[in-house]
Symmetry: C2
Subunit: 234 residues, 2 copies
Amino acid sequence: MMILTAPERAALDQLGERERSVRKGMTLVRENERSTELYALKSGMLIAFVLLDDGSRQILRFIFPGDLTGMAVIAFGKAPHALLALADSVVVPIDRTQVADIVFRFPRVALALAALEQVERATLTDRLAGLGRMSARARVAAVLLDLRDRIRRQDENTGDTFALGLTQEEIGDATGLTAVHVNRMLRQLEEQGLIARSGGRVTLLDEARLMRSANHVDRLAAVDLSWLPGPSEA
Amino acid sequence: MMILTAPERAALDQLGERERSVRKGMTLVRENERSTELYALKSGMLIAFVLLDDGSRQILRFIFPGDLTGMAVIAFGKAPHALLALADSVVVPIDRTQVADIVFRFPRVALALAALEQVERATLTDRLAGLGRMSARARVAAVLLDLRDRIRRQDENTGDTFALGLTQEEIGDATGLTAVHVNRMLRQLEEQGLIARSGGRVTLLDEARLMRSANHVDRLAAVDLSWLPGPSEA
DNA sequence: CGAGTACTTGAAAGATCTCAAATTAGGTGG
DNA sequence: CCACCTAATTTGAGATCTTTCAAGTACTCG
């Protein structure tokens, strides 16, 4: 996605000295917990979520290998949301002072990181609009498309069939629905010939129609960093 | 909020050479419009929103004087959402190349800007959780509290009574509700003694209870940048 | 094989929306 | 300052969407 110089790459690689394994179902960070680390996910899958007073959970984001999460510690020194491993995972903790160090030494990398943050922010606002203004059916379709995009980004060979890696309860916590209603919406999408399901795997049968009903945009695919000042100017 | 050195301040001040006035009701930027500028709001009020296929609108954010908006152009070179003036406003356009310049020359300022972005991101996720998991009543209460916080930040003298500056339609577009239902929720909050209304002004009568029912957090108030490397190290 | 978790389905309750109409508020030209 | 015009608010009634509760079925892991 971006072309970095050798020293820039080296600096990024250096960040990942330590690794930390997290078992499926384990909490990596609790909400409001004091922390100055962010995390790069090497393998597995995480969710970022918040718990509301009434005990309900809102999943804010699915985190896939290659994703960074927890940049908020830059501003707060504590985690505004919890991190939970949905699969056995390996993360690389990075302290915020290391981030500051990168910004000082490699401003182009800083801008690239800022761009990544903006991609996530755009994704977040897409989801906001979905929760505010789309039907349950559309929101469920949106999750399916989002997961497919991101699984495919890890594994080029992913076709239209893939394993969700999520329970319907979790889809509900991401879409603001109950597990029961998620189930009904999945069935409806199936009955309408948009998807097929079997053995915990989903097949997107009519991607065009799915994308239309979910207002789907692949934000990461739209990134343009070609305007960044060249390495020579650094 | 942050302590910058004189040259850092000067660089920031320099960004605002030009100004642009926007009349109430005018669109400053359209969704998907090619643009390489972000904006600092000097006076007035803006909303950032997206339109969905069915014509419904989701307001993503209220923008008050002092706010920056449109950092997404760093990644996309186009606006992922529209900007509309809710009041006569004055903005200062800043090109993304100027931002890059700041990052290169003043890394501490870059980190401070990144922190501000994180505050907004946290606010965005708060709203996401609200839309996904909170009742209509709670979401309306949350908007009232949010507006109060931000109006107060502009004008220290703001007490518990303030002018919304929004129609119920707009509150609805922010909370994912219809104007009709917003009206009913306002009335309910009023009947329950949480707020009072008259002449387009709202009074928060029982702030504690409002904050509890809205899961309210003032993210900006929680920022801690004391860990940033001192100016001397720059 | 058994226990627990996830999935599925139905029926009824609850929340929110839609539609329609009446009332109020604000802004403008005379 | 008034009269008018339009936008905003308010209210009711019924429709629609989503949740809740309850129960049964299917999987998965040890």
